[in-house]
């Protein structure tokens, strides 16, 4: 794209795709905005008309909103922490020449192919069920009282499930990055007297910085909107203990049948997502410039 002519040409060529994308994005967004300023409750269909900021005041003023916001951040942060650290370690492990490497990689990646509600169900009934879950059996084996995960540690349980789902993604991207590190660079570091830890810290980690950034950015986008796992397991409870913003919108809009307030929550969620995105880009985006 060196000359002005090719630049103009490329803009014209891209225009249709960009316009379709814009419409695709803008129409639902504008509708949501519109609803968020309307009195629109399915329980009370007679009450209509312009609502002003009432819906926003209602959503943000509710104490459950702050809790949901905190829960959202805990969920995103917790899952990121587990997947980045776990993914790096797994990638280092899978990069070693071991017997059955191909099969092993497929096994490691497979959780990613399980749909979120299914994954949540597997964990809910297969592992974390206080009566017949595997963990309950394990606890009983050691003579301990089984834990009712979703009631006692709702956020932690959701984080574990979501992290299990996203670990393969992180591992895969990080493994690819790891494998793109030139053999000669590792060997050079080895000859320069760097031991395994120094090699990891000075050579491998900086090489993976960009991949880690990408994992953080992509995962954050998806993790901000985690829904199915919560819906299937804790239902946002007990109380609001495991309700994130996305689930709060669902509770307000669908469970309480208040479309107006739900839309207001949706708009707030979009704003929050953008704020998080800006902070993220500031914090880690510079890794992408290189």
């Amino acid at each position: 794209m060196a000359t002005a002519q090719t630049r103009t040409l490329s803009r014209i060529m891209m225009a249709p795709a960009v316009i379709v994308l814009l419409i695709w994005m803008i129409v639902p967004l504008v509708m949501t905005l519109w609803f968020s300023f309307q009195n629109y409750s399915l329980i009370n269909p007679m009450m209509t008309g312009f609502a002003g900021w009432a819906n926003y005041v209602y959503v943000i003023g509710d104490p459950s909103f702050i809790q949901s916001l905190v829960n959202t951040l805990i969920l995103v942060g917790g899952v990121l922490l587990i997947t980045i650290i776990g993914g790096t370690l797994l990638a280092l492990l899978l990069d070693q020449p071991i017997w059955g490497q191909g099969i092993l990689r497929i096994i490691v990646i497979s959780p990613f192919f399980v749909m979120p509600p299914v994954a949540a169900l597997i964990w809910k009934n297969g592992f974390m069920h206080p009566g017949y879950g595997m963990l309950a059996h394990l606890w009983k084996f050691f003579g301990l009282q089984p834990i009712d995960w979703f009631n006692q540690y709702p956020m932690f349980s959701v984080i574990v499930i979501v992290a299990w789902q996203w670990l393969p993604f992180a591992t895969l991207i990080l493994l690819t990055a790891l494998q793109s590190l030139s053999e000669e660079q590792r060997e050079a570091a080895e000859m320069d007297g760097a031991n395994a830890i120094n090699r990891f810290y000075h050579i491998i980690l900086p090489h993976m910085a960009r991949a880690i950034t990408i994992v953080i950015l992509i995962q954050t986008i998806f993790l901000l909107g985690i829904f199915a796992e919560i819906r299937v397991t804790t239902g946002g409870g007990p109380g609001y203990a495991s309700t994130n913003i996305a689930f709060l919108v669902f509770r307000t809009g669908i469970l309480s049948n208040d479309i107006g307030a739900g839309s207001a929550g949706g708009v707030v969620a979009v704003v929050i997502a953008n704020i998080v995105a800006i902070f993220l880009m500031r914090a880690v985006g510079k890794n992408l410039d290189a």
Binding site: Q185, E187, A188, A189, E190, M191, D192, G193, N198, I203
Partner: protein, 334 residues
């Protein structure tokens, strides 16, 4: 400091034997070049010495100490890779300082050595750049800088100049030779460019299919090649080989004559080989004639640049009788 000796070193990758059996003695301070055709095992041999590959059997002594099983870091050698293998996220300064940092040298010592290396290699004004922002020749110098700060027992170079353009190669060749004269450290240099081998080496190891064909000074190899392979490999353009009845006249199964060892005439001479000029490559200083000799095939002849032969001219070639190389049926020099 810096003698390297290999005895009966063997290397196989799985079933495939790459190096059948090599014994070599490299003296302290020597500049030794490994040369040979692609795939003959030059890099493998170098990596065995560096410790980047496990030796299948045999022993490697560095300064008389058995280092066959020692990890690369303990051997005290420095290696310059073909792709330079600079650390892309570090500045030139950090790249050069890296081995010293790993050795936990004090900060002042590191700074001082980096400065010194940078001055020696003309890198002082690039110290704060990343490798990405350097030219090929500069990157090469950084790689060398990273090697010299450690004051290694020996330097190992694996085709360090093959990514550079012709003019820069000549320059870097001189710089490395000068560096060797200045540091007097043992250097092993791998190349498949025989001009590099001839001009830089104190002694050359000619490798072929994992075997040492000959180990000697450049002029030794040129004047007294041990066998037909070395004779053909050293010297540019290649030596001309003749076998059959013409070779039998010299009591050999094959004879070889270098392109520069012919005298050339345009009129018939007794005992001369008659031929027709095919292509004449004029380099200015020299002219290489490709002559189709009746019954003997294509020969390359080197003449001075003022000769003006054209396509199809008849020429008569007389090999210098004192410089005819004779080989037996097994290819060994007689």
């Amino acid at each position: 400091m810096g003698s390297i000796s290999l005895s009966h070193v063997k290397k196989s990758f799985g079933e495939v034997q790459i190096i059948p059996d090599i014994s070599l003695d490299i003296k302290e301070g020597e500049f030794v070049v490994f040369v040979g055709p692609s795939g003959c095992g030059k890099s493998t041999l170098l990596r065995l010495i560096a410790g980047l590959e496990d030796t299948t059997s045999g022993t490697i002594l560095l300064d008389g100490v058995d280092m066959t099983k020692a990890p690369p870091a303990r051997r005290g050698l420095a290696m310059v890779f073909q792709s330079y293998a600079l650390y892309p996220h570090m500045t030139v300064r950090d790249n050069i300082a890296f081995p010293l940092k790993m050795a936990k040298a004090p900060k002042e010592v590191i700074d001082q050595k980096v400065e010194y290396a940078a001055r020696t290699l003309n890198l002082s004004s690039y110290l704060d750049r990343r490798p990405r922002a350097l030219s090929g020749g500069q990157r090469q110098r950084v790689a060398i800088g990273r090697a010299i700060v450690r004051e290694p027992k020996a330097f190992l170079f694996d085709e360090p100049l093959s990514n550079l353009d012709a003019a820069l190669r000549v320059n870097m060749r001189l710089e490395i030779t000068e560096l060797h004269q200045q540091l007097k450290t043992t250097m092993i240099y791998v190349t498949h460019d025989q001009v590099e081998a001839m001009t830089m080496a104190d002694r050359i190891v000619v490798l072929n299919a994992g075997r040492v064909e000959q180990f000697g000074t450049p002029l030794d190899l040129y004047k007294k090649p041990a066998n037909r392979f070395v004779a053909g490999f050293i010297g540019s353009p290649r030596m001309n080989f003749v076998d059959g009845p013409e070779a039998a006249r010299y009591n050999a199964s094959a004879i070889g004559v270098r392109p520069e060892h012919f005298s050339l005439a345009t009129t018939p001479m007794p005992g001369a080989w008659k031929g027709k000029v095919g292509v004449a490559e004029q380099l200015g200083s020299d002219t290489f004639l490709h002559v189709h000799v009746d019954g003997l095939g294509l020969m390359t002849i080197r003449t001075d640049g003022d000769q003006t032969f054209g396509h199809g001219d008849d020429v008569y070639l007389t090999p210098d009788p004192a410089r005819i190389y004779r080989f037996d049926a097994a290819g060994l020099a007689l």
